[in-house]
């Protein structure tokens, strides 16, 4: 399975790169920015407990002190206000939420305050803050602890939204988000936390508004969001054996969205499948499809996959039906590329031959190591 092989400045030689886990890359990116900029601080529920948000905050309090890395009570709305005020005063806060579901308690602060302060004060005020939001899956926590709610924030001018799918982008996007003068909703999928990729030790950024083509193909364009990027890559591998070559694109930043790269691919393939880690209705997949349809100048075939149109069930058997997976994605691709032709893949996903294989392992860890 592919891992990022390009830095913002060009192609990297992977043999010279260091392999790192997603959580460690996140932590390193934050640490490097805290080292570089004394205005950066990190806080939120459980950031200093022994699990250290699955390792993503490990060692930061010991290194930077309790004034810059600290735990908070269950007070998401108030603490978001603290972050906004601190950002307006020149600080660069990182507010951590161990479930994206909990960010619903902060909606007024984020949507009515953080996103609009720069506009309402005529550009005199900036709100440079990062809101880390974790999405979960396969942990049996059901309807209120498993939601992918990124599209709610994509709707709002003034907010940026990013959902890195690998360790390289986790670090690069985190550094870019911290340096950004706008509020950034940073979406992290727990199943990615122990996946590995080549990550430069030095500081670097993955800039907003640039998608990445991670697998080349001419038969269909497949866009994955967050961890669905990996599921799409697995599907792509399954289909390659049948001679179906899917082009897989990771949008990385959902707002601003680089629709041009996706549209250029669809212009060539004539087919687009978007697989989101969220519901379809008014979701990121709808936005991506609409943006592509507005600019592509020929008839194209379109499909979307995502959460089933119900709340996430806690039962594993129902949960399996709730999410798209490599087999269902591969089947949909096969139907689109070779309609009516038997031979659609029905098996399980292939074992991943490269570093991202650890994502499979994380599924088991996720079940037994819930926050």
């Amino acid at each position: 399975m592919s891992t990022p092989s390009q830095s913002p400045s060009g192609v990297m030689d992977q043999s010279e790169q260091r392999v790192q886990r997603y959580v460690d890359a996140l932590c390193e990116g934050v640490a490097q920015e805290m080292e570089r900029d004394p205005s950066v601080f990190l806080f939120g529920l459980d950031v200093d407990d022994h699990k250290a948000i699955q390792g993503s905050t490990r060692g930061l309090q010991q290194r930077f002190g309790k004034e810059r890395v600290f735990n908070t009570p269950l007070s998401e709305d108030a603490m978001t206000g603290v972050a906004i005020g601190a950002a307006m005063a020149g600080m660069r806060p990182i507010h951590v939420h161990i479930r994206m579901d909990f960010v619903m308690l902060c909606m007024n602060q984020l949507v009515n305050m953080a996103s609009k302060a720069h506009y309402m004060y005529g550009g005199h005020v900036k709100v440079p803050m990062v809101v880390r939001c974790m999405i979960g899956k396969s942990w049996g926590q059901g309807a209120q602890h498993s939601q992918g709610l990124h599209s709610l924030f994509m709707h709002i001018p003034g907010l940026k939204v990013v959902a890195p799918s690998n360790a390289h982008d986790a670090k690069g996007c985190m550094i870019a988000a911290i340096r950004d003068d706008n509020p950034v909703i940073f979406v992290e999928h727990r199943l990615l936390y122990y996946s590995e990729a080549y990550v430069p030790e030095e500081s670097f950024t993955v800039e907003p508004g640039k998608s990445r083509v991670i697998a080349r193909g001419d038969d269909i364009t497949v866009v994955g969001v967050s961890n669905m990027v990996l599921e799409c890559l697995r599907a792509q591998e399954m289909l390659a054996d049948e001679g179906i070559h899917a082009e897989v694109i990771d949008p990385i930043w959902l707002s601003p969205l680089d629709a041009d790269t996706i549209a250029a691919s669809v212009e060539r393939t004539g087919k687009l499948l978007v697989v989101d880690n969220a519901w379809l209705n008014c979701g990121a997949s709808a936005e991506i499809v609409a943006r592509v349809a507005e600019v592509v100048r020929k008839p194209i075939q379109i499909a979307r996959m995502g959460f089933a149109a119900t709340s996430c069930p806690p039962s594993p058997t129902l949960e399996h039906e709730f999410y798209a997976n490599p087999a269902t994605i591969a089947r949909r691709i096969h139907e689109m590329v070779r309609p009516g032709v038997p031979g659609s893949p029905t098996g399980s996903a292939p074992s991943s031959p490269t570093r991202c294989s650890s994502v499979d392992r994380s599924r088991d860890e996720t079940r037994s190591d819930v926050l």
Binding site: Y119, G122, G123, K126, P128, G158, K160, D181, N182
Partner: protein, 37 residues
């Protein structure tokens, strides 16, 4: 102190009102100004 603060606030508000009343309406091109920093 309170009187001084209130006087300063009153002056600031008066200056803002004066600035607003004596400024032209924004041009259409300003619609997208300051959405993102």
């Amino acid at each position: 102190v309170r009187a001084a603060v209130e006087a300063e606030v009153e002056r600031e508000i008066a200056a803002a009102i004066d600035f607003a009343e004596n400024s032209p309406f924004p041009e259409a091109k300003e619609l997208f100004t300051d959405v993102y920093a």
